[in-house]
Amino acid sequence: MFSVILYGRNDSHGYNLHKRAAISFNAIAEVMSDPDDEILFVDYNTPDDHPTFPEAIHDTLTDKAKRVLRVFRVRPEQHVHLKSKTHLVALEAQSRNVALRRSNPRNRWVLYTNTDMLLVPRREDESLSSIFRDLSDGFYQIPRFELPEMLWEAAFDRKDPAGNLTKLRDWAVRFHLNQVVHNFMPMKYDALGDFQAALREDMFAIHGFDEDMLLGWHCDSNLAARLALYRGRVDTLIDKVFGYHCDHTRVAAANNKGRQTKMNDQDRFIWDVSSPYLPAQADTWGWPDLEIEEIRLNRDTSYERFTTGLAAAMEPATEPYRSTNLDWHLYLDLSYDVRHTLPFVCDQVLTYPRSTAVMLVATRPELVSRFATAWRAMGFTGPILIPSECEGLPTSDPAIRTGAFSELVGMADLFIFEFGLATQNPEEVVRTGRPEGPSDTRNLKMVARLFASAASTELETRPNGRRLPRRFIGINVIYNKFWPLFTDHIAANINPFCSQVLAGVPRQDKSLKGKVLRFRGRNGF
């Protein structure tokens, strides 16, 4: 019957976002009763190595919310062409249009709202679906009622949406919450963007939200102006639904800088709108030709992929724990436990697109074969690129593709460099003062050379069309002799030794030291 369209990213937009959003997702799902109903969340520009926002809070969502939720992930690389035109990290018009383009065509209605709204049918026996089913064509809005932070934060149980709606019905009366704030036409009400219901067909006819609105604010008013022109009026659903907004003003959100807030031009986008149509974006709104990943929280989840990958790649441990050691004198010992490290490596790559091509420059055959197994089992379809300069590594896995480093480097979306000892036996006790053999030294030299080269030439070797720097993952680069090398080139955080993994993008060091490093890297010194 209807598609709810929301957007956001995995960041901290305003106060206690996670609780607000969970309450809202669950409450919206609770008032859905048609099998075609869906909540479309566009996760816009969350960094590639993070999960999407709904994935990050999935444990606080009800089964019903997980079932109806479809997450569309817009990658930073897909946003980067707009980066120079806006100070914002998440764009409303683009997000909402991406969802609209991919919404269920069987649904007659789309409802635009936000992840901090609770929609309460005035009659307890009605759902939003039944309300929309009986509703005649039009463009509908409702007033927004504010809910003090104390109430939703202290009294709501995230996983009890029905209980929350009951509480709201009671509070509305007890605490005089329901105040309608009328506004100029075409807005009709204040804070109109929290409930704008339009026919899907109408939204396609007027070419979606205006994607020139890149500075934030007033996207809802622009839509109201255009739909008011198109439909002739702004109808109300106040007799059917009340909408409550989880107030979050304790901490200003990123797009709220008081009077210094940058905004879209009100004259251009509201008061001088002359047509509902946007012919300039008629064929491009919502990026119809772009492949946008869709994620579901009720099947094939990241957790399922992760565990499937690891289960395929290794058997469970047979002892309660194993040890390693940080003693100073072991600084040169490069032995490490592949099976312990693999989950941390998989964790680094799991959130990347499944079509990602990863370059794996390694020393230990065990790591390569286990990683390749996990990679396929996690559902990745892209290749693992292994430079032929690396000796003694297995190449029979169907995911592995070999070739000269110079050929492969321009194809990689992601890099993994491993600094271990090829001669290490999988069952060896680690960090006991094990020396390198001559073949280890030779292999490590090669890995170090390729690493320095890849990091120094990252910009020049990027695949065609790619604009953002590629991420480098270092295995066994904490508290050993390759720690300085890795962190000289890569802007990595400080991570616990136990994970054995660091990651980041190449440093943009403009100092003499940085220039020397890059010169050395490029020239293989």
Binding site: P186, G232, D239, K240, D267, S274, P276
Partner: protein, 382 residues
């Protein structure tokens, strides 16, 4: 109770009494008044918080005009605030039903002409906006649209002209101005205005439709068809709009598949039944008149005519507007065509002479007549 409390209660009682008397006087004065005035007064009262006083005025407006959707909605709002939630819901539902039952404009026409309702509230709302924002075009355009949609092209034109005075580079408004001029019968000026719109946006399907109608109003059938042909090409995937365009050109072979799609999507729209029959009949295909649905009101009478359930005279008696009369005459021409071309021609001529060029039947009749005339010329030559 303190003195201040007693005084406050007393003044509130006096205020309510005076308000009630003024409403009563107003209602008595307005016995013959138009429902718009009653609505306006009710709305002002409601906005000032006097919902109780607004209720009888809304009710009176509805007595005078039962299809006044905005008064119905206003009544709903007033009852809701007064705590009569169930009654309020009924009024809101009734307001939506009134709108839903109003016939939409043809789907190939400008979006403003496809809207339905009274739009008094919109005019009022944008009056208020215009008082604050004198230099922006949206309030003028929206107010103009409200006038145009409610059949007041003169007021609409004034608003569009004002918008164009503020900003000349508005092709969408030039097209709307063309529609207002066309509705006023000023076809030549309308064509000029549509030309301006189309110079800026040559693929504006709605402007092409408007110009085609204005051209038809000037008797330029061929030029009108050129615009419709282009509009037809632009509206890919919109079966109902394309069906109407093809019907205007009396191109029944093109219209039929689009009509089938439109009928499939909106099986309850009686006009798709009607036009499918028209197209099939004119194409010489089996039209199954017995299968036409039987329904009361308009266009049920037309369907009954095609099904042979009532006579042409009976249909004409039921056609209580110029538009309906034109629809009836057109269908009578369709039925007559195979056996008596002269009779068909007479019916279609009447359609062209007596109806607005914006009607589908007017355009179709014009094209039928043009075709008949050219076939006569060909016959005469051979």
């Amino acid at each position: 109770m303190s003195d201040a409390g007693i005084m406050r209660r007393f003044s509130e009682t006096v205020r309510k009494f005076r308000l009630g008397r003024r409403v009563k006087d107003f209602l008595q004065d307005s016995e013959q008044a138009d429902f718009h005035r009653l609505y306006l007064r009710a709305r002002v009262l409601a906005r000032s918080g006097a919902f109780e006083a607004a209720v009888p005025l809304y009710q009176r407006a509805l007595d005078l005009e039962p299809t006044f959707d905005e008064a119905m909605e206003g009544l709903g709002e007033a009852l809701d605030v007064l705590g009569q939630t169930e009654r309020a819901r009924e009024k809101y539902v009734a307001a939506r039903r009134i709108r839903a039952e109003m016939r939409l404009g043809a789907p190939d026409r400008h979006f403003v002409l496809r809207q339905r309702g009274h739009f008094t509230a919109e005019v009022l709302a944008y009056d208020a906006v215009v008082r604050s924002l004198k230099k922006n075009v949206l309030p003028y355009i929206a107010r103009g649209n409200a006038y145009l949609a409610s059949g007041q092209p003169k007021n609409a034109l004034a608003n569009y002209n004002h918008a164009l005075k503020l900003r000349q580079d508005l092709p969408a408004v030039a097209a709307l101005k063309g529609e207002a001029l066309s509705m006023l019968g000023r076809y030549s000026e309308a064509v000029h205005s549509f030309d301006a719109a189309l110079r800026a946006q040559p693929d504006d399907a709605e402007a092409l439709s408007g110009r085609a109608i204005a051209r038809l109003g000037l008797g330029m059938v061929e030029e009108a068809n050129t615009d419709w042909q282009r509009q037809f090409e632009l509206l890919k995937g919109r079966a109902s709009a394309r069906a109407c365009i093809a019907l205007r050109m009396a191109d029944y072979a093109t219209a039929l598949p689009e009509l089938e799609s439109a009928h499939e999507k909106e099986p309850n729209d009686p006009y798709w039944h009607l036009y499918r029959f028209t197209a099939r009949h004119r194409l010489g295909l089996p039209a199954d008149p017995a299968g036409l649905p039987s329904m009361d009101g308009w266009p049920g009478s037309l369907l009954s005519l095609l099904a042979g359930r009532i006579t042409p005279d009976e249909v004409l008696k039921r056609a209580n507007t110029d538009g309906r009369r034109a629809e009836a005459m057109f269908q009578m021409g369709v039925l007559a065509f195979d056996r008596d071309r002269r009779s068909a021609e007479t019916h279609w001529k009447e359609v062209v002479e007596r109806s607005s060029p914006s009607l589908i039947e007017h355009a179709a009749a014009s094209n039928e007549l043009a075709r008949l005339s050219s076939s006569r010329i060909v016959n005469a030559r051979t």
